[in-house]
């Protein structure tokens, strides 16, 4: 009888480690991860009129509303950029953030019944939500690139390929902040379900604090601090800069956003791992 501890391949203890599972184990569940993404993508457009086209209709409809409200009626400056493109850029990035945050914050409650019946690394569930949102964002980004290409070619907007690549780190930081915060909220909302309502309200308000349909340059000096403490502000300016070559940001703001993202992401993953095992007893 092998008595050495090397004989045992796994051990179930009373507490979970902060990291939850090893990367090797997480990786071994990659098929499940992609399957869940596929399942959610297929099922969310099942028995709908327009199906997956909603992914692009939704931002288009929003942009049209914004053009009417903010451009035609209120007439907020778009820095000489065609309003349609200007708003589409902001909304595409905003959708990535708000959907990632909101969907991830449902991750635990949504999967609680499965968590209670079968084991797999719990992180797989929020990761699949993140991937699904990145997938939808990818489609919306394609739409944005098409629209931008139209303006580059026919409206003689200045095009710079290297500059355009800035959107890659912007996407990572924005999605990272949304995901990290979503993980934390997914745990809090198990205990206090009303937080979900507050969160939705908070996200709606946050949109007005983010330079989604205006530029930081337009913000009065008196309330600029509000924009500066918001780590997302610089990301919206950067994202616009990538497409249009216009935006106000500095290095400090970008570093601040990066550190903020890393902190939230680790905090989110740790909290989710540590608490999901305790919460499974109470849901």
């Amino acid at each position: 009888m092998p008595e050495t501890s090397r004989w045992w391949e796994w051990e179930i203890k009373t507490e979970t480690s902060w990291l939850g599972v090893s990367f090797r184990e997480l990786y071994s569940y990659k098929d499940l991860l992609f399957r869940l993404v596929r399942k959610d993508f297929l099922s969310s457009y099942h028995q709908t009129l327009l199906g997956p086209f909603w992914v692009v209709f939704q931002p288009l409809l929003t942009v049209i509303t914004y053009v009417i409200v903010f451009h035609t009626v209120i007439n907020i400056s778009t820095e000489g950029i065609p309003a349609f493109l200007y708003y589409l850029i902001g909304i595409t990035l905003w959708n990535l953030f708000s959907n990632t945050l909101l969907n991830t914050s449902h991750a635990f409650l949504q999967s609680a019944s499965i968590f209670g019946k079968v084991y797999f690394p719990r992180l797989i569930a929020p990761f699949s939500i993140l991937l699904l949102n990145l997938l939808r964002f990818g489609i919306q980004l394609l739409l944005l690139l098409f629209v931008a290409a139209y303006f580059y070619i026919f409206k003689h907007l200045e095009f710079n390929f290297i500059r355009l690549l800035i959107f890659v780190p912007v996407i990572i930081i924005t999605a990272g902040i949304g995901f990290g915060a979503g993980l934390i909220f997914s745990i809090i909302t198990v205990k206090y379900k009303d937080i979900l309502n507050l969160l939705e309200l908070f996200i709606r308000l946050l949109m007005f604090v983010c330079p989604v349909f205006y530029s930081i340059a337009l913000v009065p000096e008196k309330v600029k601090w509000l924009v500066y403490i918001n780590p997302l502000s610089s990301q919206f300016e950067l994202f616009r800069f990538a497409f249009l070559g216009k935006g106000s940001f500095d290095l400090i703001q970008i570093l601040y956003a990066l550190v903020f993202m890393i902190f939230l992401l680790f905090a989110g993953i740790f909290i989710f791992n540590k608490w999901s095992d305790r919460l499974i007893d109470v849901v």
């Binding site: 009888m1 092998p2 004989w7 045992w8 391949e9 796994w10 051990e11 179930i12 203890k13 009373t14 507490e15 979970t16 071994s28 098929d31 499940l32 399957r35 869940l36 596929r38 399942k39 297929l42 099922s43 099942h46 028995q47 499965i114 968590f115 209670g116 019946k117 079968v118 084991y119 797999f120 205990k191 206090y192 095992d277 305790r278 499974i280 007893d281 109470v282 849901v283």
Partner: protein
């Protein structure tokens, strides 16, 4: 002797009853301040077993399971069987203790976990397979077999919400049955599905454990299925291990213990006996009717109900009625004798119930005392509780037998003529 693949040391699980969490943010913060900052005892988490808000679902459970063994977990409702499986399946964490093991575990605690109603059978085979721990390659390899096993080939591209419940269960189980873990954990999932399919599933599980040397841990209320499938058994009672060992001996011990205490109610003190100024019960007893060596009641067992009581009235026209109820409260029978004339003193009687009458299940007797065929003098309710176990011979089916009674009426089947038939 083969190797140990699972070893549990002192696993215990404490559940908090009632509301989720401590109920409010204020109490949570207060609690956190006391325990984490001031390092005091958690006021909401006492390890006091007498506290009615906490329940030890499992307490100090130790066991070892060797490679290739098939274990049956038995015990009454609430004995901790499901908690036990959930800890082994890594779904919940034990409050104390640890489990060490070797090899891949797959658990089947529910039929169709992760199924999505709107998606097709084909999609759901992959979803369910992935969730149960198979990877895409394994599912692809087994796909034909799974479809064959479930017999739903024609509906593979139909959303599962349009399936009949039988088809749904068959598909769900077919996926699960084709997992190839080293250790398979199965909760009571065979209660669903039709008889033929149950037989097929049990057959497959048995094959797996005997031929491929898979370790199986199986929970069921169906002791027939347990004895048939398992080699070892573990009997849990109120969260603790009552007996482990060879399946037959454990099952017999379990059956023997079956609430014997409640089979006899005797009240020798006339003042404390249940009743009133007219009637007081002295004895209410269930006796196994024949000389069979069985210490438990199964569907074959004849039963005798004996009763003895004090009658405080002279010259009374009295009748005693015996009522038998199922645990759900349905009355199965109400029997009595011809009312007759009695005097003050102690009276006794009995009622005999033949074997092959009741189906398996939980029942209780009540006794009623009636004067002049109309006036109820006393009704002693839910006096004797007992359980009837199932018994089957020459039968390959382990599902719940329908009906409240299980009589042995002669049923025949004859061939009237034999010829080739064709339906056009």
């Amino acid at each position: 002797m083969s190797n140990i693949v699972i070893q549990a040391e002192n696993i215990s699980k404490l559940y908090r009853l009632g509301t989720i969490g401590t109920g409010s943010l204020r109490r949570d913060i207060q609690n956190w301040w006391l325990t984490r900052v001031l390092k005091k005892e958690d006021p909401y988490f006492k390890s006091d077993t007498h506290d009615k808000n906490y329940l030890w679902a499992l307490k100090n459970v130790n066991f070892e399971i060797r490679e290739g063994e098939a274990w049956g977990i038995i015990g009454r409702n609430g004995a901790g069987k499901s908690t036990f499986l959930k800890i082994l399946s890594r779904i919940v964490k034990p409050t104390k203790g640890s489990v060490r093991g070797r090899g891949k575990i797959s658990s089947l605690l529910e039929i169709g976990t992760g199924f999505h109603e709107d998606l097709t059978g084909r999609e759901n085979i992959f979803i369910s397979g992935n969730i149960l721990g198979m990877n895409k390659r394994e599912i692809l390899k087994k796909f034909e077999e799974i479809v064959d096993f479930s017999g739903i080939e024609a509906f593979l591209d139909t959303p599962v919400k349009r399936y009949s419940s039988g088809m749904y269960v068959r598909l769900a189980f077919a996926v699960a049955a084709h997992m190839e873990p080293d250790i398979l954990i199965v909760d009571e999932v065979l209660a669903v599905g039709d008889a033929e399919f149950q037989r097929k599933c049990l057959g497959k599980m048995k094959d797996d454990s005997t031929k491929t040397g898979r370790t199986v841990i199986f929970v069921s209320h169906n002791l027939q299925a347990i004895t048939n499938l398992c080699s070892q058994a573990l009997w849990l009672e109120k969260g603790q291990v009552n007996a482990t060992g060879e399946v037959r001996s454990v099952v017999n011990k379990y059956l023997g213990s079956d609430m014997k205490a409640s089979w006899k109610q005797e009240f020798t003190n006339i003042k404390q006996a249940p009743g009133n100024d007219l009637i007081r019960v002295l004895l209410f007893e269930l006796v196994i009717g024949d000389s069979s060596p069985m210490a438990h009641i199964d569907i074959r067992t004849p039963l005798t109900v004996k009763y003895k009581f004090w009658n405080f009235t002279d010259n009374i026209t009295l009748a005693v009625g015996i009522h038998l109820f199922t645990l759900d409260g349905d009355c199965i029978f109400d029997v009595s004798h011809t009312p007759a004339f009695y005097q003050k003193g102690i009276l006794e009687g009995e009622c005999q119930i033949p074997g092959w009458f009741l189906n398996d299940g939980s029942y209780y007797f009540s006794i009623i005392f009636v004067k002049d065929s109309s006036e109820v003098l006393y009704y002693y309710e839910e006096g004797l509780h007992f359980e009837v176990e199932d018994f089957r011979e020459n039968m390959n089916w382990y599902g719940k037998w329908m009906g409240t009674v299980r009589p042995h009426f002669p049923v025949t089947l004859r061939q009237v003529e034999s010829k080739n038939l064709e339906i056009k």
